[in-house]
């Protein structure tokens, strides 16, 4: 390992390179600001005033709205996240095994590429596409969350499978077990706690994702949110935000505790 200072000494001093990078960055920002549609000082100033005014009318939040609308919406969001995460947790198992390098090298590359591809499409984009197939509602949301999560879970599962202790695998192979028996008796018991822990972590992320699915019509708390935003019911919007903050924090806290218990055994 070469330390920072030594590396800096090795690298030749080229001032023109610094200037070139600087000029490029400046040009990039000029380009970005110049071309942004609807950008003007007046708009920024009025927008700033607007936001301050909105924050003003957000308080106090409309407490009467908390139950049943907000609680039901949030429960639905959590349910969408739960079902989607469960679906992904199961479907990601075959992906995880196929994408693991110690199972098959060629298949692994294809598998990892597929998983990266899936991950690139955000839930909300999948949701609007799936809604075209199955109509608006929680079902499209569950499918979107489920499919998108396969990407991350499959990758984490594969890494888990890659770092197992090869001892039991070799022992079973030596005693004449087939691949399925090896996977069931030697690999699964080793990776199960990690798989579960990753799935719960993904559930945590999915709760956040599920709160916005309703903005495009795929169920959950986003549905009343977009309704109230369009009607400028800011006190109700504030109540929904409060509900989301509380729900996300509580889920994070529970999930972190369960995961800690799982990994420590």
């Amino acid at each position: 390992m070469i330390g920072r200072t030594e590396r800096a000494a090795i690298r030749p001093y080229r001032p023109w390179k610094r200037w070139a990078i600087g000029a490029f960055v400046v040009a990039l920002y000029v380009w970005a600001v110049w071309g942004l549609e609807g950008l003007s000082w007046r708009r920024i100033a009025s927008g700033y005033d607007g936001i301050l005014r909105i924050i003003g009318v957000m308080f106090p939040p409309d407490w009467s709205y908390a139950h049943p609308t907000v609680t039901q919406g949030i429960i639905e969001s959590i349910e969408i996240a739960l079902l989607g995460s469960t679906m992904a947790a199961l479907l990601a198992v075959p992906f995880g095994f196929l994408a693991a390098q110690n199972v098959n090298r060629v298949v692994s590359r294809v598998g990892k590429f597929l998983l990266d591809l899936i991950r690139t499409f955000p839930e909300i984009l999948l949701a609007v596409v799936f809604m075209k197939a199955v109509g608006p509602g929680a079902y499209a949301g569950v499918m979107a969350v489920g499919v998108h999560s396969i990407g991350m879970l499959g990758k984490l599962y594969a890494e888990s499978v890659e770092t197992i202790d090869p001892g039991p695998v070799e022992a079973l192979r030596a005693s004449g077990a087939n691949s399925l028996q090896i996977a069931w008796y030697a690999v699964l018991p080793q990776v199960m706690p990690e798989f579960l822990s990753y799935a719960i972590y993904r559930f945590e992320i999915n709760v956040r994702a599920a709160t916005v699915l309703g903005l495009v019509g795929a169920g959950g708390i986003g549905t009343p949110l977009i309704f109230n935003l369009q009607r400028r019911n800011w006190d109700r919007v504030a109540m929904i935000l409060l509900g989301v903050i509380v729900a996300v924090s509580v889920i994070d806290w529970i999930s972190a505790r369960v995961r800690k218990k799982l990994v420590e055994g």
């Binding site: 942004l36 955000p122 569950v142 202790d165 916005v212």
Partner: protein, 271 residues
């Protein structure tokens, strides 16, 4: 990982695990939760599998051909660039906004307990709000367009960059800080000479990482009206122009991959 660090084979349970009555209670609770979830969301368990043919059929109808790609790509170019502009500006604004927060939320620099916990609390609060939720609120406040997207992603970037950087500040080498303390430097001098040189590369690397995330989010901001190319996917889907929508998705995919490659290269050089 060496052999010695691996979990030994003896850690794999040989005897069947004990079944305590409490475990059954938990199992029952879990079954009840799933039961209620399926009932509330109107999803039948089998549907999650039987739904796939419908999806596949949709994907078949979405398959674009090359001529469409060539003719549609130039028309989408300005919207793709708007997506890039949103991500670039919001990451920058977010990163600049974090500068005071990076030291306020670092225990080793900010010695005032209430100010430190207050800063941490603000950061945690900001990070609980999902990106598109912020975007939808800014759309209602600022009107439809990329300005709302920039505002929303700035707040979103602020939360992540400040958390990562303040944790880096907490992990700096205390030597220079103590040395400057000893010679009587004030707080500003201390931060300028002991903290900034140590965390600047990481701060830039985190900002680039958040930029990568923001590109992905900016591509879908249009679904809630906050500018960028996502708006055009929505329009094409609503007009049942599935193949056009697919072209846009391929463009986004390629764009995200290119940005990731460039950003990863730069980040590797920084740290």
């Amino acid at each position: 990982m060496s052999m010695a660090e691996r979990p030994s084979a003896s850690s794999i349970p040989v005897a069947p695990p004990k079944r305590s009555p409490l475990k059954w209670v938990w199992l029952l609770v879990l079954v009840a939760i799933y039961w209620k979830s399926f009932a509330d969301t109107n999803v039948r368990p089998l549907q999650l599998i039987t739904g796939f043919p419908e999806m596949m059929d949709l994907f078949r109808r979405m398959r674009p051909d090359w001529p469409l790609f060539v003719s549609y790509m130039p028309r989408m170019w300005p919207h793709l660039m708007e997506t890039l502009r949103i991500a670039l500006l919001s990451t920058t604004i977010g990163a600049i906004m974090t500068i005071p927060m990076n030291v306020l939320a670092a225990r080793n620099i900010n010695r005032i307990p209430w100010l430190y916990s207050g800063s941490k609390a603000v950061l945690n609060l900001v990070r609980t709000l999902p990106d598109l939720l912020l975007a939808s609120i800014f759309v209602a406040a600022l009107g439809i367009g990329p300005l709302a997207g920039v505002a929303a992603l700035s707040v979103f970037s602020f939360g992540i960059i400040a958390k990562l950087t303040s944790e880096s500040v907490e992990a700096i080498d205390p030597g220079p800080v103590e040395a400057l303390h000893a010679v009587g430097a004030n707080t500003v001098q201390l931060i300028g000479y002991a903290v900034v040189p140590q965390v600047l590369p990481q701060f830039l690397a985190y900002s680039l990482y958040v930029f990568e995330i923001n590109i992905r989010v900016a591509a879908v901001l249009g679904l809630v009206g906050a500018g960028g190319i996502g708006e055009w996917i929505m329009r094409d889907l609503n007009l049942f122009r599935y193949r056009h929508a697919a072209v846009i998705m391929i463009i986004i995919l390629a764009f995200v991959v290119i940005i990731d490659v460039i950003s990863t290269k730069v980040r590797e050089r920084l740290v």
